[in-house]
Amino acid sequence: MNSLIKLLFAGVILLLSILTGCKKDNDPDPDPSNTEGLVYVGQAYTTQGSMLVKVYAADSLYCAYNNLFIEVRDSASNEVISNAEITLLPQMEMMGHAAPFENPSSTAAVNGLFPCAVVFQMPGDMGWTLDVTAKDLATNNEGTARIDFAVMSPTLARTQVVTALNDGSKLVISYLQPIEPKVGMNDFEITLHWKESMMSFPPVENYTVEIEPEMPSMGHGSPNNVNPVHTGNGHYKGQVNFTMTGEWNINLRIMEGSEAVDTTSYFVVTF
């Protein structure tokens, strides 16, 4: 039975990689040492400063919280720049809005790559762009590159935009974990961002979140779940328990102090 599940899982992954692989341009200059296992998103030269910015992602880009990895090279020497200040601006220019994102937490590249994240709150075959502004700390060279790409809709919704019950603001809720759910205890993680303006989605750091897993067809839940708590930068981490495989809803209850912000959102997990 176990091996069957594994086999199925492998099949699904294979299928996904075929489906998504077809859509992507191939990396013109693959460097397998540090980008192995990552999906190439695109590249562009900076408008100034002679730098080449390459964007990789942990997975294909979905309407979800996406882990990105940015590589910056000196376009003349093709040397990897590993000390730089990177700032992002993801946006859908046509629609005039940006998206929640997380700039690299450090100016030092990890293995030649700057890890960062973007939450795409809607899918789109075209229209999404990512402006990457890089400032080489060694040379003080600075420039911005724009990369465009498609954002797909995941099978199960992983980012939701809801209207807060208390103040009517928009809240972006994104599901991060568990990515590979299993029966038993799983790490659970979401991010919360709120829409300050069309172009600004800062993290929400002072909410409380309660979770309640439920099997919709059975109506039962599971015991010993740990409600997520804020760990920084809009991330809320807890633990979720699954008593069996199948389809689970993880129901959320988001509060700001004693005021309910959202009581109806849930994420579906199937395994």
């Binding site: 039975m1 176990n2 299993k182 029966v183 038993g184 205890m185 099997m215 919709p216 067809s217 059975m218 109506g219 039962h220 839940g221 599971s222 015991p223 010993n224 328990n241 699954f242 008593t243 069996m244 495989t245 199948g246 389809e247 199937t270 395994f271």
Partner: protein, 682 residues
């Protein structure tokens, strides 16, 4: 009187040569196993009984049960007045001995450990062996039954016939058919034994197909149907007069078995049982006998809800157990001591899955038994001391070591849901000791007393069960890996007055149980099963008591008339006063039997008092009292050394609608039921 009874039985039962054989084909030849045991077993196979205290070589109930050639094993078990049956349908009843069900008992077939594969106890192993392949049912109480394993309530060992070496009769056998009306049940059986001088081969089979039965008053009880067959092959070879090599293969398959009291039925229940035995029987010297046995068996079981209306979610629940093991037995006799030593061990694996198939959603999957390996080794020592002609003492002791281990990582993960770590092996040491003293007080009166201490390991469900739904109380049960062993101190006593025409026997038992394992609700937990009342975890209750007794009377004023009456009572209580669930009320079975040279007629009355001592926490409900009347008759027609035997009877003659207290789901028992059996033996 006894001898006379035997004579009557010999005449009644068979025209075969007797006595020269140690095990005789005669066992096959007639009707009710209970009577076969009384009539023949005692004389031919066990000429002297070594039992100290209540005899376990034969059932306590005697000739007062009629010949019904097609009785199920359950019906025979119930003839022991200390055994009651938990009924969930019309098949595979779960035996309860001294108020304790299968997790507190050792149930064995020929000393072989076999474990049912159903998480809901729908397949006690008594359902995998048929009476026409059974020689005896040995029932031992409490610690005294520790030869077969550590248990609290005692042990029930069902001994099969095996092939019979009988050079005087090369080919012998039987074929029979039976019909019963309440469930339009059809039965068929056959047996064939071929014997040479030094070896013999036997094969037998049973087929049963029953429809839904009709309860008293006329209601048809849906989901009480079943179909099964059982076949066995057995061989015996005696290279010398003192050596016996024996093999046994038993295959039992049941299909489409209805369980009216449960939300699901059974698609199939299958067992394959293999045994290989070597016995050495020295004629003289200190060593009286030794025996080596190896065995293996598999049981598979799958539930089915496709025939039920309004099923919220279709599910299946296949379960499997695999067991192999062996034992070495020796009996030594020196002066006044008769010492039995047994070394035994087995390895068993149990795994049960549950898959649910909601519409338009992913399949759900979990392990209700998370693939558990169990290794068990034990040593048993018994010394029967013949202090004098009138005083006998028996001392039993057993030490058993049990290791259980979850081998599927999925199961380990599952248990983490309840913060239980089952990744490591769980080890337990079990100790059992008991002493029995029997004294012949006068020519007619004897008395015995047994005192013992015994322990048992938790059952698989109690230790590792994962959301196992109990339809009786409507709770999902979850095991507790670290639950403590259950312990008991126990006493069993009896007195017997026996005279030519009459016999009175009175026995009583008392168990004080410590760390009694029972389900306790955790109100913080959500039930898994739709509409279940909640979740119960296995828990040790500090103390519980179980007590009871029975009274048996037999009176035979004239040779051809016999009156018999058996009463029993059990009382169970959790320390503090609340009743233990599922305790049978006061029961009485009385009969009058008229014996003729070639047959008999019998009138039987089964009664039970109301049971109002109930525990509602376990969904228990009260039961009203009842009495039912049965009439039975038997007759045989000889043709030389062959014969035709006829059995007929009407059970529940007055078509009373009634329910035994241990029946789940409030289902009434069978109403008026006529049966007719014909068998030809040669």
């Amino acid at each position: 009187m006894r001898r006379l009874a035997y004579k009557i039985f010999f005449v009644l039962i068979s025209s075969h040569a007797i006595a020269q054989q140690q095990d005789s084909i005669l066992f096959f030849m007639e009707g009710n196993i209970t009577e076969r045991i009384i009539g023949l077993n005692e004389v031919l196979v066990k000429p002297s009984c070594d039992c100290v205290g209540e005899c376990s070589c034969k059932p306590t109930v005697k000739e007062n049960y009629s010949l019904n050639r097609f009785s199920a094993t359950d019906a025979l078990l119930e003839k022991n007045s200390r055994i009651s049956l938990i009924k969930r349908g019309n098949f595979a009843f779960e035996p309860v001995l001294n108020g304790m069900a299968s997790e507190r008992l050792n149930l064995t077939i020929d000393g072989m450990k076999i474990f049912g594969a159903c998480t809901d106890k729908m397949d006690p192993i008594t359902s995998y062996v048929e009476p026409n392949n059974m020689k005896s049912i040995a029932v031992q109480h409490g610690a005294a039954g520790s030869m077969y394993g550590s248990g609290i309530g005692g042990s029930v060992n069902m001994e099969t016939n095996g092939a019979s070496i009988n050079p005087a009769k090369k080919i012998s056998g039987e074929a029979g058919m039976g019909f019963q009306s309440a469930s339009m049940g059809a039965n068929a059986l056959f047996m064939l034994n071929y014997s040479s001088k030094r070896w013999a081969l036997m094969t037998n089979g049973v087929y049963r197909k029953f429809q839904n039965y009709r309860a008293g008053g006329g209601e048809i009880i849906n989901y009480t149907q079943f179909e099964k067959w059982n076949g066995s092959v057995s061989g015996k070879y005696m290279p010398t007069d003192n050596d016996v090599l024996r093999f046994d293969v038993i295959i039992d398959e049941g299909y489409n078995i209805g369980y009216a009291a449960l939300p699901m039925d059974v698609l199939y229940a299958k067992a394959k049982i293999f045994g290989l035995t070597y016995q050495h029987l020295p004629c003289h010297g200190t060593v009286e006998k030794y025996e080596v046995k190896f065995y293996g068996n598999t049981v598979s079981h799958s539930m089915d809800d496709t025939k039920r209306p309004n099923v919220a979610i279709h599910m299946d629940m296949p379960g499997n157990t695999r067991t192999f093991g062996g034992y070495f037995d020796t009996q030594l006799k020196k002066n006044k001591h008769k010492v039995t030593l047994r070394l035994d061990g087995y390895h068993s694996n149990a795994r049960a899955e549950m898959s649910m198939y909601p519409v338009n959603e992913a399949k759900m999957f979990m392990l209700t038994w998370p693939d558990v390996d169990k290794m068990d080794a034990g040593i048993f020592l018994q010394d029967v001391i013949e202090i004098s002609d009138k005083n006998k003492l028996s001392i039993n002791a057993r030490l058993e070591y049990v290791i259980t281990q979850v081998i599927d990582e999925f199961g380990v993960q599952q248990a983490s849901v309840f913060n239980q770590d089952v990744s490591k092996a769980n080890q337990r040491l079990l100790k059992v000791i008991s002493a029995s003293y029997m004294r012949t007080i006068s020519k007619t009166v004897s008395a015995w007393l047994t005192a013992g201490y015994t322990e048992r390991a938790p059952s698989l469900t109690e230790q590792y069960g994962f959301y196992i739904f109990n339809a009786y109380d409507g709770y999902d049960y979850i095991g507790n890996v670290n639950i403590k062993n259950e312990k008991a101190t126990q006493a069993d006593a009896g007195v017997q007055w026996k005279q030519e025409k009459a016999e009175i026997r009175c026995t009583g038992f008392y168990y004080r149980l410590f760390d009694y394992i029972l389900g306790a609700q955790d109100k913080t937990m959500d039930a898994m099963t739709i509409n279940a009342n909640g979740v119960k975890f296995s828990k040790n209750i500090p103390e519980a008591f179980m007590t009871g007794g029975n009274l048996e009377l037999t009176y035979s004023p004239v040779k051809i008339l016999k009156f018999s009456s058996v009463s029993s009572y059990t009382h169970g209580e959790i320390a503090g006063g609340s009743p233990l669930p599922l305790i049978a009320p006061f029961k009485n079975n009385s009969s009058i039997k008229w014996l003729h040279q070639r047959g008999f007629v019998m009138l039987e009355c089964e009664s039970a008092a109301a049971q109002n001592r109930i525990n509602p926490e376990f969904g228990e409900r009260t039961t009203v009292d009842y009495s039912i009347i049965n009439v039975r008759a038997g007759y045989y027609i000889p043709f030389g050394d062959k014969k035709i035997t006829l059995n007929a009877g009407i059970e529940n003659l007055l078509d009373k609608r009634y329910r035994t207290h241990l029946t789940w789901g409030g289902i009434p028992q069978q109403g008026i039921n006529g049966y007719l059996n014909v068998s030809f033996s040669f």
